[in-house]
């Protein structure tokens, strides 16, 4: 009986020390997954929407998107999604990610909260940009630009609006 009480107390104290707030757990779990994913690929994408209790992490490898829905206490892996890895124009990353505070680029204006995308590129500092997703999915962009790729990837991951169809938008 005494042993049982000791075990219960030990488990209780361990739980107290090991637990974290929902947002902190989400952040830690996301960071760990990104670190692990970077061993598989050069570029990892993190998409997040303020007030959601999950993050979306993905990368391209061998013509598939490897996608993960990260929640505070578990990670759901998407089934592999067949998709092309659109090669970006040279200037595209700089245009949408540089000069965070002062940039005035359609659909990528800097705001607090809302949706944002963070890119982890091997051997470089991560970069972040806010996204006005309503604007993103209602605008036709230059092929191989960053927003064009983002539309494609989010469409493939099922995070675009129900009435958005990437192929239809760019074939018409």
């Amino acid at each position: 009986m005494k042993n049982k009480i000791l075990i219960i107390i030990f488990v209780f104290i361990s739980t107290l020390f090991l637990s974290c707030s929902s947002q902190l757990c989400l952040q830690k779990r996301t960071d760990r997954l990104i670190e692990k994913s970077q061993k598989e690929t050069d570029t990892v994408y993190l998409y997040s929407v303020a007030f959601n209790d999950f993050n979306l992490v993905w990368y391209h490898k061998n013509n598939f998107i490897h996608g993960f829905k990260v929640k505070p206490h578990n990670i759901e892996q998407y089934k592999l999604i067949e998709a092309k890895n659109i090669v970006l124009n040279n200037d595209s990353i700089n245009k949408y990610f540089d000069n965070f505070l002062f940039k005035n680029i359609q659909c990528f204006e800097s705001v607090l909260d809302g949706a944002w995308i963070k890119l982890y590129i091997k051997n470089k500092e991560p970069v972040l940009s806010n996204i006005d997703t309503e604007c993103l999915f209602n605008t036709k962009f230059r092929p191989n630009s960053f927003p064009y790729k983002l539309q494609y990837d989010l469409f493939k991951l099922g995070r675009s609006p129900i009435d958005f169809n990437f192929e239809k938008m760019y074939l018409e």
């Binding site: 902190l24 007030f51 965070f100 607090l112 909260d113």
Partner: protein, 106 residues
């Protein structure tokens, strides 16, 4: 606020605010970024600073910001001070107001 319906039938809602936007003009800092003593915004639902919120602080730092970043959680009457890395301290909104009054007395 924006709402969109996703292909799986679920809905996604997004709230955002453009800081330092006054009279339709962006980046109305008053003077330089290094002169800003604090900036604040409100979350309606009791959440902690988002990754994007913390990123903002980091970007402001690049322009000389050394002040406080404050998040007011209206739902629970709490105030969180945060920086580019994490939340620093979380206090009651009533205490926060009292702190403001003390500052005025000086």
């Amino acid at each position: 606020m924006q709402t969109q319906t996703l292909p799986d039938g679920s809905t996604e809602q997004r709230w955002s605010v453009k800081p330092f936007r006054i009279g339709g003009k962006n980046n109305q800092f008053g003077s330089s970024v290094s002169d800003i003593e604090f900036f604040w915004h409100i979350h309606p639902n009791g959440s902690t600073p988002s990754g994007g919120d913390r990123w903002w602080v980091g970007e402001l730092r690049k322009y000389g910001f050394t002040g406080n970043s404050i998040l007011i959680d209206v739902n629970n009457g709490r105030v969180t001070f945060f920086n580019e890395k994490s939340s620093l301290i979380n206090i009651k909104y009533d205490d926060f107001k009292r702190m403001g009054n003390q500052e005025q007395l000086k």
